[in-house]
Symmetry: D5
Subunit: 96 residues, 10 copies
């Protein structure tokens, strides 16, 4: 099932650069693993914001929760989560 997730990231400007780089590298590795598995189905950067719009394809809200809370950037994020379903006018099934 699909979930819309918007993530806004706010890293404290005074964070140690090495620590920030490590968190971002860990985040990227975890993201790319989930992207390859088809779970993090889409991600777009919101232009001009340290934020993204994502679509997750998960087995359950439980799985979504466990994934999001393990993201290295989670403690620095504000999240907006909404369950999605197929739009009745859609001619294709891809967006179910």
């Amino acid at each position: 099932m699909l979930f819309y997730v918007e993530m806004k990231v706010k890293l404290p400007p005074e964070m140690d650069p090495d620590k920030a780089a490590q968190i971002k590298a860990d985040e990227k590795a975890m993201f790319q693993k989930l992207q390859k598995e088809g779970i993090w189905r889409h991600i777009w950067r919101v232009a001009g914001q340290y934020a993204n719009v994502s679509i997750f394809d998960v087995q359950s809200p439980q799985q979504l929760n466990d994934l999001l809370m393990q993201l290295p950037l989670f403690p620095y994020m504000t999240l907006d989560v909404r369950a999605l379903c197929r739009h009745p006018s859609s001619i294709w099934d891809d967006d179910r």
Copy 2:
């Protein structure tokens, strides 16, 4: 280029049912035409809301504007529009 558009629809409950049905049918036809052309690339219903999350693939903000303002449901919508771009961590180009 891609745009995120969230559409919330509020039809007055006392609207004439025939008029409402006609507007919805016109909207659906226009949506499916744009969907087939690859312009309205994604649409999802937000579960439990008369609302959708959409991704548009257009040539310019001008084209996006002209499309949205011609939607039959436009006078009844509240829209949230954001320009998107490729996320730097993404391994694929589909979401550019």
Copy 3:
């Protein structure tokens, strides 16, 4: 899977009383059917508000969406929907 749904109802005060009574009766019948089926698992009135806090147990976001949008009071409601999952500290499974 479980969803939290808060429903705020706003009926226009000038609505024809018979029509309002009919909508409320239809709503009640649909609610009680879903309550007996175990789908509308909990409902509480928020004290002093024409509003309720509900817990739904559904097969999918799609089912939740279809149920909510068919409620007779849906055109008069503002809804807040959130997917739930088991709390890691809980000692029982009932709230999964």
Copy 4:
């Protein structure tokens, strides 16, 4: 009587991990004690948020207040509290 309580937790990311673990352990112990006593009647994690939706069954607003303010995570929480009552359409008494 029943109260709806939503708790959003915001632990400072730079908190000492041992201190954070101790607070969470204390919170869990207190929660499970109240859960067994039937006071903290329900708890659900909001999927993808460090937040929960809870239902308390207490003798008075005073008891609710005293319980909530003693929670180890209270200084890090934003709380939304609403008194509940029986929904007039409900066929059962469990949710009174």
Copy 5:
């Protein structure tokens, strides 16, 4: 137990004056009955607003809910309801 209730009233300016006068008279009668019974313990007009701040002394959230929803002005009100309890610094018991 005590509840804080703030009531903001918005009567449509085009309402029939006789109907408005009747609703206000019914509201006043019901208010004064509850005031004499000690249930509507305090009421103050917020200066310059069609709004009041009230303190109710009721047996339960259920009683509060049933009283508020029967107020003749209820369909025209926006309500803010909060359970109160004794302040730990208070030297008297009147505000329990």
Copy 6:
């Protein structure tokens, strides 16, 4: 004249416990002095919040201002202040 004041307190969790205890003790002493003088006429704890709802009886907005800004907890408070007056439906004068 009467004023409604809502005070929300936010002490930094990492504050030195002795300093916090001293501020609270000073606050309590000042509150009880004003309570005995009939100036701080009512105070209620909002159940489950580090907040209170208060009614002040003062000679002027100037006096109210000078009292509030000298409260030991003032630097940690968010205040909502509203002038009150007698409600036209009230049968008694106590709430003038």
Copy 7:
């Protein structure tokens, strides 16, 4: 004593022009009477908004309330009211 009052006016565009003109004329007459009496001490139009910023000099919150609620435009206004007092840095007494 002084009060800051911001008034935002929203007349329905479809209002009968004669009725609108009458209300505005009544409002202007009442305003000028209060202005001459020194009660409506200041008024400024907020540039580009159907709104004003006003300073009232009244005997009590009660008087302010009674004046504001009798304004012909009151049913079409949203009001923001705040009690004022002398600023401690001010060298003059005019703004007491």
Copy 8:
């Protein structure tokens, strides 16, 4: 001097089409007159919204106010107005 003005327009969907067309034609004529005079210096449509971002070059806030309140669409607009000045980093004077 320059002012930023954002105008959001909300025409009631049920407005008589001839009346709507007349208002829009009057608005366009007035806009183009002011554009030629250099007063309405810039206008941009916000893509996908019935809204614009404008820059006015006027002699005074008074002139701005009188212009905006005479716009045929003014009763249907929500306006956001901000005075502008030269940015200290700017290398040119055009944006003074």
Copy 9:
């Protein structure tokens, strides 16, 4: 020309008292200089808030901007700025 400015001040409670006293003294000196020059035409304390409502009489938005940004408390303020003009109903010119 006149501007309405509301200033809300938030000094960190842990600020060094000497530094806070110095900033406030500098602010007061600058304020009184501008008050005597007729530029800071009015100032009122909002009762019970560390905030004021002020009216500035300046030559241009540029002058207003330069004055405000040089205030010693500027880094600790949240400002709300609105251009004012003469109200069409006013019988005097003082509030132009």
Copy 10:
């Protein structure tokens, strides 16, 4: 294509003055380079706020994003970004 960008800057008051001066100097240099290239087409200071209203002329949302995120003040900014297009009533093409 054009984008409206509003930038609100919040530098921590306790920042080291040399560091703050360096960031501002870097920001100014980057701004002036983009201004000369015609990319940062307009900038205005919002009078009395540490904020600006800007118009960017870029090749794509991607370019806008990359420019904004490299601004030295980006970590201290809150940004509001909106795609613009030509207003249908405009008689000139400059604002396309």
